[in-house]
């Protein structure tokens, strides 16, 4: 009887572990998806380009730095066609 109970307990523990692993995998997948979505949006909206600019120039974000970034990217941005 106790062996049965012990077996059932172990099975329950294993199942709980498997559930936790599954939940953790789902959570990781969702986090990855969200991270990717945010990265795509940051690229589309030029936030990543600005971060790269700050990194390259080794300066902190400020109105002056952003102004410099806009000046640098103005020609490229203005020449970028928008499709029909």
């Amino acid at each position: 009887m106790s062996q049965v109970a012990c077996g059932a307990g172990a099975r329950a523990t294993l199942e709980a572990k498997a559930d936790r692993a599954k939940a953790s995998a789902i959570l990781t997948a969702i986090t990855r998806l969200f991270t990717l979505l945010v990265a795509a949006l940051r690229e589309i909206f030029d936030e990543s380009a600005y971060a790269r600019f700050l990194d390259r120039q080794r300066v902190a974000s400020s109105p002056a730095a952003y102004g410099e970034f806009l000046r640098e990217s103005e020609i490229a941005k203005a020449r970028r066609p928008r499709c029909c």
Partner: protein, 693 residues
Amino acid sequence: MNRFSPQYSPGPDFLMPKVLRVLLWTSISLLGAFALATIALHRGEQINAMWLVVAAVATYAVGYRFYSSFIAAKVLAIDPRRATPAERLDNGRDFVPTNKWVVFGHHFAAIAGPGPLVGPVLAAQFGYLPGTLWIIAGAVLGGCVQDFVILLFSVRRDGKSMTEMAKTEIGKLGGFVSYVAVISIIIILLGAVALVVVNALKSSPWGTFTIAMTMPIAVLMGIYLRRIRPGKVLEASVLGFVLVLAAIFGGQWVSQSASWATVFTLSGATLAVLLIIYGFAASVLPVWLLLAPRDYLSTFVKLGTIALLAIGIVVLRPSLHMPPLTRFIDGTGPVFAGTVFPFAFITIACGAVSGFHSLISSGTTPKLIRREPETRMVGYGSMLAESMVAVMAMIAASVLQPGVYFAVNSPAGIVGQAPEAAAATISAWGFPVTAAEMASLAHAVGEQTLFNRTGGAPAFAVGMAHIFSNSLGGQAVMALWYHFAIMFEALFILTVLDAGTRVGRFMLQDALGNVWKPLGRTSWYPSILFTSGLMVAAWGYFLWQGVKDPLGGINSLWPLFGICNQLLATVALCVATTIIVKMGRARYVLVTLIPLCWLVAVTFTASYHKVVNSNPRIGFLAHARQLASAAADARLIFNDRLDAAVAGVLVVLVAVVVIESALEWARVLSGRKAAEVREAPFVMTRLALEEQG
């Protein structure tokens, strides 16, 4: 096969046993074939919009999995060991190795414009079948192929533009023609889409107020980004979006206020003048003040609305009221004149094949691609997504009762100005509609009238409002949905308008710099004012012509735009075919040669009809003759002759490129000329080196 073998195709396939894979793809293919058969063979009863969605998704899945994989491995010989310019020339500015999904989003945001929304709505006059079939087949076999191969060829040439590739691969004339085609398409595109905005906002105080408010909102966003929270673009875009929503609600109040409604009730001519002034201002003002924030706001709204529309169609599964084929396949359609071949293909434009995409595929995107195999997902995959947007637009138009669709899209010159007369004419065509029904619909969406609202945007907005009003908020909020859709389209188009004017200005400055050096200086203010003025005058002329056209303008301008766009695609496919031949892969040349031949057949036939067809509603010259015999305004006659000249000159130039390309293929294939590809030298990617130890 390892990750670096040319045949390597990342995806879930390798996780599945072969039997399951075969079963899965057989099921998807059968499902797609069944859905296509249902939409093609169903007659007499309404079908559910989901059949269109299933047919499209299944065909796209099969096309992507098998056809694009074949092109990648056999035609292009994609090499995962080869370093891309993003890796070799990485400067953290233009050349940046970027995650493929991020590049996919970036590329899709750049190629998705108003074309795939407007084109299918206009082409729905033939019924939903011709347009839907062309959107699906044209994208899988033509548009996606063009975007994919041009992207890969640009990646292999350090991100060179399409015009530069045409010059080096076909010859100087190829470069010149693609330059002329690009500038013509920009001018005619801007004139045509500006007309769509004018027709959407004409006598609509609600819509006009909302769109007018987006300008101070964009300036506010610009100041917020520059002064308050530098670089926080997503934050500023969310703020801008909330303000735009407030403007939509404010628009309702304006439309109900007797005094304010008068201020914002504008005629087509006034709106055209305002748009021309706006285009000029957007071209000469600093980018950060208006162009950049408006672009961000438009992209934010665009991505959100496309996602919302996709969810709405899948969740609500509306029925299509439009028949699969209408009587207007014979060429007598009220929306635009011309038979189903070639005009359905010209009208759909960007939803199936877009020459304009070749500019994006050889612009920013090749400089972000991390590894060659990713060009498949970005180039081929993004165009599939764009094509799906076109299918959704077709659904939005086809959920309307055909009588309502034709009442909205038919110009007064065809159906008459008075509501009763228009309703009687449309009902006599076999599409019953009453003036009272239209008045009630106009009241429900907060407009004074929905008759003669040509251009495609109002019909799309009514369709979208119709889909959403069946669940989210019901009929009570139909007006809000309608104006949200109008705002979305107009915002979209204004972004194309201001960005296009600037791009055109730079192209003019580059060209005029060869004539007189100071004109080529992009920061010299007299040059900026002069070239901006030239650019705005050029598209403004076409816009004005459209506003004054008794047939609604779209009848002339949209086919002209479609012809220019497809001619540009013809040039892009000539470049691609030439490179494939020079790569020694002529046995696979049909991959680009078949869409090229199809586009030549479509564009040349359409141009022929638009220039010399004896029906005045189709042929520009016949229309000019008709006007001349009626002693009409000389300017209208000149407009028709100008349109005929534009179409004729472009066709001749593109014909020369096609002939020059064919001669080049013959020289290479007969061994009279060495098959030389002008790719950047091979450099092993660090990724491969790391993997091989």
